[in-house]
């Protein structure tokens, strides 16, 4: 016997073109990004030297990048909270955060993925863009000599979240009719079947080993809590909460 507890609908909006323009908009599978976006950032001058946003086309991976700090989807809640209701997400485009100090020191702790992108990114994995996907690079250069602490990744992820939120606000307003795909997921109790738990051990040792849990937006940052601040204690999440982006990996 199956009992459906709650429903999560994920609608996908495909992007096949990303370009800079006067404003951030999504229309006819094309995403424009405000070219003056970085001027609007409220950056901590003690931490950030420079932040740039770059559009990397598929096949243009023969470029040098600093350490890949994260790759995230552009998703937003339209109805309900994380784990139920309606989520809109873009396909065909993903955000990549790169970070290093001005002197070249990489934002990494246990090996670094800086180098030629095509050799540092294996496309087509669950956690990486596909070979035909566009990457929006959020490229961060930190002040030379800045103290390497938890403050840095938190500031970088927070700043990037502000940028992604500009796109999310547009994504939120799209009609269901414009969606390319619709996926329904249920948190289900299958009475009488074998009860199984998945345990995910996630980083929590300090800088570059942290995770932001339960953000307000899927795979977001704001509104969430660092699992270091929660003493790394076990937290149970429902399958739908998990697949609705309950974890922002700051590893």
């Amino acid at each position: 016997m199956e009992k459906e507890m709650r429903r999560l609908v994920i609608r996908t909006f495909h992007v096949d073109r990303v370009f800079f323009s006067d404003s951030t908009e999504y229309r006819d599978n094309a995403l424009s990004i405000d070219k003056n976006m970085t001027n609007k950032f409220d950056m901590d001058a003690d931490i950030f030297d420079d932040v740039s946003i770059n559009i990397i086309e598929p096949g243009d991976h023969n470029i040098h990048v600093n350490c890949i700090m994260d790759i995230l989807p552009i998703s937003t809640k339209v109805l309900g909270v994380l784990g139920e209701g309606i989520t809109h997400t873009m396909t065909g485009v993903y955000v990549m955060i790169n970070g290093a100090e001005k002197n070249g020191r990489q934002m990494s702790n246990f090996g670094s993925s800086d180098g030629i992108l095509s050799k540092r990114l294996m496309a087509g994995r669950a956690g990486t863009p596909g070979p035909n996907d566009i990457i929006i690079q959020f490229d961060v250069i930190l002040k030379e000599g800045v103290e390497f602490s938890r403050k840095l990744p938190l500031a970088i992820h927070s700043l990037c979240d502000g940028f992604v939120q500009e796109i999310r606000e547009k994504l939120k307003k799209l009609n269901a009719g414009q969606a390319d795909e619709k996926h329904e997921f249920y948190d289900t109790i299958r009475k009488g079947k074998k009860k199984v738990v998945i345990i995910k051990q996630i980083g929590g040792q300090g800088a570059m080993h942290d995770n932001q849990l339960f953000p307000s937006e899927p795979s977001g940052f704001e509104g969430g809590f660092s699992n270091i601040d929660m003493l790394n204690m076990p937290m149970i999440v429902s399958p739908n909460e998990y697949r609705d982006g309950a974890i922002r990996a700051m590893t």
């Binding site: 090996g111 540092r120 790394n232 204690m233």
Partner: protein, 156 residues
């Protein structure tokens, strides 16, 4: 030692996690949820959070557990302890980890007899290529099949 570029699960990986997908879809399994447990710095804290995770699993009356991590080295201390704590409670447990040649376990115990190694690199090392040594659908299916066998053996 902790999480390297090739084993790191990105936010995108969590968003479309193959392990969750495989287990949630299986109509023979009642997936109770995903338990997120951190990896503290201190040894005392490592033992504490892993033991708390095992206490949760017991309290939930779970028939079986799949535990996966995207770090190695020092993080295997936490992993080994959590597996042991779950095993000691008589609950079948299957582990998933990057091992290859670089990350053989620094600590081991009798409950770590079913571990899926999701190394994908030829040399079995941390290649510093993002996405390379991460869990895919095949790894997840293997882990679930092992868990089903283990639960069956135990008469669950």
């Amino acid at each position: 030692m902790g999480i390297g570029p090739s084993t790191k699960e990105t936010s995108l990986h969590h968003f479309r996690d193959p392990l969750l997908d495989v287990v949630a879809k299986d109509s023979d399994i009642d997936l109770q949820g995903v338990l997120l447990v951190g990896t503290p710095q201190g040894n005392k804290e490592k033992l504490l959070v892993g033991t708390r995770a095992a206490a949760w699993v017991e309290a939930m009356r779970s028939d079986g557990v799949i535990i996966s991590l995207d770090g190695w080295g020092n993080s295997h201390v936490d992993f080994a302890n959590t597996v042991e704590q779950i095993g000691k409670r008589g609950i079948p447990v299957v582990g998933m980890s990057f091992i290859g040649t670089a990350a053989t376990f620094v600590v081991k115990n009798e409950y770590m007899d079913t571990i899926v190694d999701f190394n994908k690199s030829e040399e079995g090392i941390e290649t510093e290529v993002v996405g390379e040594n991460t869990v895919n659908e095949r790894d997840a299916k293997k882990a679930l099949a092992l868990l089903k066998l283990k639960m069956k053996k135990k008469g669950v």
